[in-house]
């Protein structure tokens, strides 16, 4: 009754106040809805779809054919990969380092473990690159990581340097006219495993130091044997002892610590143990080297496990992670800790080992 006697300015004030209140309610509702979603839904962002996987190969051939007319096995493999639009990182392991005077090279896998010089391997890889270029559609890009493991007695600094020189020469070859650089490049690789290096890590570190200096990185596709998992006690540098005199610090050096090192670690175990070990290594690196490891992807051995002699063994030992499982396990492990969650963004690649070549 009294309201009609109040001045207009009073009603304008009320209106302004109610508008302000409505705005507050609207914003509060928006925030409350976001909070409820976050709290009840847990993690807002689910793991993304894994990238399409490439095939990595234990090389038992270096058949480059004979110019000018015979294409050779390596050309055919490259052509098939190109035709299949293989896109991403692919590792070729040429066995274990060797030196037959005066040439560095490698004893490749397969029958006879023949020594192949760096010149033979370079020619073979050039034939693969030619095949990929000839048969791939435009718009795909292959990063071919060619490497060795760290087994045997010829793992050393000069071998790493010779390998890097070969990688550089292959990239020069790619860039020579007509350039294939819009779709291909070559980098180094090493399958660094403590179990291969019974005499300790120093020769493997020396190989990495010899390699470094090239313009391209090398990718460690090795393992982390006996590495602790998240929740374990973190020992200061050199970290936890593993096997054959290796420590966490050595695996870190081959995967990240060396200036040219990147990693696509083995994620073989189906229960996620491998992924958690690499995650813990990254947390250890964050604590003692002030930087988490920016893993580039994951490596599985699903295809190798389909080989007749391996089927039962892989099943018994639960090594049969699929490509997607391996990648997702590593993503989940990294995402599970605030210290490494932002490193998931560099998990670009997924690759799967095969014996077929």
């Amino acid at each position: 009754m009294l309201d009609r006697f109040r001045p207009k300015s009073f009603w304008a004030g009320v209106k302004r106040r109610r508008t302000g209140e409505a705005a507050v309610v609207m914003i509060a509702s928006l925030l409350a809805a976001a909070w409820v979603t976050q709290t009840l839904g847990g993690q807002t962002y689910a793991a993304p779809t894994p990238p399409s996987a490439t095939i990595s190969r234990y090389m038992s051939t270096v058949d480059g054919g004979s110019p000018p007319n015979v294409t050779g096995r390596m050309y055919d493999i490259g052509c098939n990969d190109g035709r299949n639009r293989i896109n991403g990182l692919e590792v070729m392991s040429f066995g274990q380092p060797d030196f037959v005077s005066p040439d560095y090279g490698a004893d490749i896998f397969g029958t006879g473990a023949p020594f192949e010089s760096i010149y033979t391997i370079k020619y073979a890889v050039s034939r693969y690159l030619h095949g990929y270029w000839d048969c791939s559609p435009t718009g795909v890009f292959l990063t071919l990581a060619i490497g060795v493991n760290n087994g045997g007695s010829k793992v050393n600094n000069p071998h790493g340097a010779a390998w890097a020189d070969m990688v550089n020469q292959l990239n020069n070859f790619i860039a020579s006219p007509p350039s294939w650089a819009s779709q291909e490049r070559v980098v180094g690789a090493i399958d660094a495993e403590a179990g291969y290096a019974a005499t300790g890590p120093s020769s493997t570190r020396a190989w990495a130091d010899g390699y470094t200096g090239t313009a391209t990185p090398f990718y460690n596709a090795g393992d982390c044997p006996g590495c602790p998992q998240p929740g374990s006690t973190m020992l200061p540098i050199p970290g936890t002892p593993l096997q054959n005199g290796w420590y966490q610090d050595d695996i870190w050096y081959m995967s990240w610590g060396n200036i040219g090192a990147l990693a696509v670690p083995e994620i073989y175990l189906e229960d996620g143990t491998s992924a958690r070990e690499w995650e813990q290594l990254s947390l250890w690196a964050l604590r003692y080297h002030n930087s988490a490891i920016g893993y580039q992807g994951s490596a599985t051995e699903h295809d190798a496990c389909l080989t007749p002699s391996n089927v039962q063994y892989c099943q018994t030992n639960h090594l049969n992670n699929t490509r997607d499982q391996g990648w997702s396990q590593l993503w989940d492990a990294e995402n599970g800790d605030p210290g490494t969650a932002s490193s998931t963004g560099s998990l670009h690649w997924s690759t799967d080992w095969s014996w077929t070549n």
Binding site: A22, V25, D103, G294
Partner: protein, 204 residues
Amino acid sequence: MLGLFRRHPIAFIVGVAMFAVLAVPIIGLAQGGLPPRPDYSQYPPEKRALLEANDPRNLMATAQAAPPIKDLSPKSEGPTPPPQKSSSVQRAGAGSGTIMETGLAPYPAGQFVGINRWEESKSGNDLIVYAGSNGSDPSQGLIIFQIISASSHQTVGGAILPTPVKAGPVRVSAAQGEVLTLTGQNGTTFFFDVGLQKFVAAAR
């Protein structure tokens, strides 16, 4: 505060609706789309540069910027096939095959650590017996037997077999025909019959 919500139910509904309109597509994109963009700023400068140079987004941009028609003409020069060289791996005839002193095997060291191997070419196939130990339990000797087609290079058969008792890593020390003598680190001797694909009590 609750009184405010009661006085302005429409504002409450609009607020929740705004959240739904804005948030659901963002979550949907994140779940089905690309991984989050890499954050390289957290890394040391030298690693940051390496990661950026090797980021597949940059590599793909190179590929997608290329002309749609490729130049398939041959390169003027390139690596040439060099002559074959012999390996530094020591070999010795043993039975119907050859013992090779190399631990090289296409297995991760966590599974298998090789000591040496025995090989034989037979009926269009290569038979290989890798000798060594279980990578996660060195006390357990292990052999890997493979049959590889010489023409297709595919593994067409084989098995992974632990030694009957733990005697440490084993090596092929001798062979008689296709029966291999394997010696464990502690001196225990085993016999593996390649034809039967199993351990046997003694050489035939």
